[in-house]
Amino acid sequence: MFSLSQRFQVLINQAVTFSVFIIAFIVATSYIDLIYPNNVFNTGVATVNSIKPSLSLRTSRYFGSINSKPKENVRLEFDLDSDLTNLFNWNTKQVFVYLTAEYNNTKNTVINEVTFWDNIITKQEDAVLHLEKAKSKYSVWDISEQFSGKSLKFKLNWNIQPWVGPLTYGEIDTGYELVVPKKVEESSKKQRVN
């Protein structure tokens, strides 16, 4: 009947057409699943509690120090509760969840957002977060000289990594605010302040 190359061409064409169709279907249905019946973009709940900051001075470039000038670094201890089960469906490869704080400098000319803690969730069973006295994953410094005195607003953010299709982002406001304490004793390298 038809030559091998013709058969091959038809086969490839059909395969591509079907794949495009299937992918479009997966992407569309998984998105609908996120917004209906519960819209995950605005129904998420996250509570953080009893955040305890601790300040230290670091002199390494890897902790924000320039020319070995001591740099204030902040670590946290915190409680966190959130249920991210709704973010999982047939097109969720993983959920990347991260706790960030937003703050401005005193003149409101620089706006900052920094990550204190993050986690990769690959199974729906692990999507209920319940952390007590958890330690922040990162030692955070500010781009300016000082971190102390800054007023931090905490948010829990999530990012759905799909099996195929667009990456999806969302955030949950925790309503928790905290002012980083003013003083740090220069003599101690890792002294807890409150």
Partner: protein, 168 residues
């Protein structure tokens, strides 16, 4: 007389390459980046991205958000890096933005990767694009082509042959 027939065949071959290339160029202009589609080469973003996955980039955003996965280039290094934004600091009018990045699968942030002892990336200068879409594994073809010196010619030859042989 047969010159026209040969020219027509050659034209079909030209169309195969030029349409593929112009599609890429058009995509580059729309997404405002020199690489609108990249292939993941390392495992530093596992399990989100594995080697061979294809990423679609967009670079028309004014500023990056924390959590965005960005592709950046370091002066003097050939291979762009795909990592997640860990911190961002921007001026109120978005004129300047500094970013700190980290690979999900790496223990430490990227300061040791940045050029000239810098501890931040510059959004306007260093960022190639932000990852917006994902397709698994298909990029292995290009990894295979770029790492095997005969594969490139084999693939080009196959393309040329198929356009010459295959009629309507």
């Amino acid at each position: 007389m047969n010159l026209r027939l040969e020219l027509t065949k050659l034209l079909n071959l030209c169309f195969v390459f030029s349409s593929a290339y112009m599609f890429w160029q058009g995509l580059s202009l729309v997404a405002n980046t020199h690489s609108p589609i990249v292939v993941v080469l390392s495992g530093s973003m596992e399990p989100a991205f594995q080697r061979g996955d294809i990423l679609f980039l967009w670079n028309r955003n004014q500023a990056s958000n924390v959590g965005d996965i960005v592709v950046y280039e370091v002066d003097g290094k050939q291979i762009p890096i795909v990592h997640r934004v860990l911190r961002e600091h921007h001026s109120a009018n978005f004129e300047k933005q500094y970013l700190l990045t980290k690979g999900d699968n790496n223990a430490a942030n990227d300061i040791s990767l940045y050029a000239n002892k810098k501890i931040y990336l510059n959004k306007q200068k260093d960022i190639v694009g932000t990852v917006k879409g994902y397709f698994p594994q298909l990029g292995y073809v290009t990894i295979w082509v770029s790492e095997n010196k005969y594969a490139k010619f084999a693939l080009l030859g196959l393309l040329a042959l198929s356009s010459l042989v295959g009629g309507e």
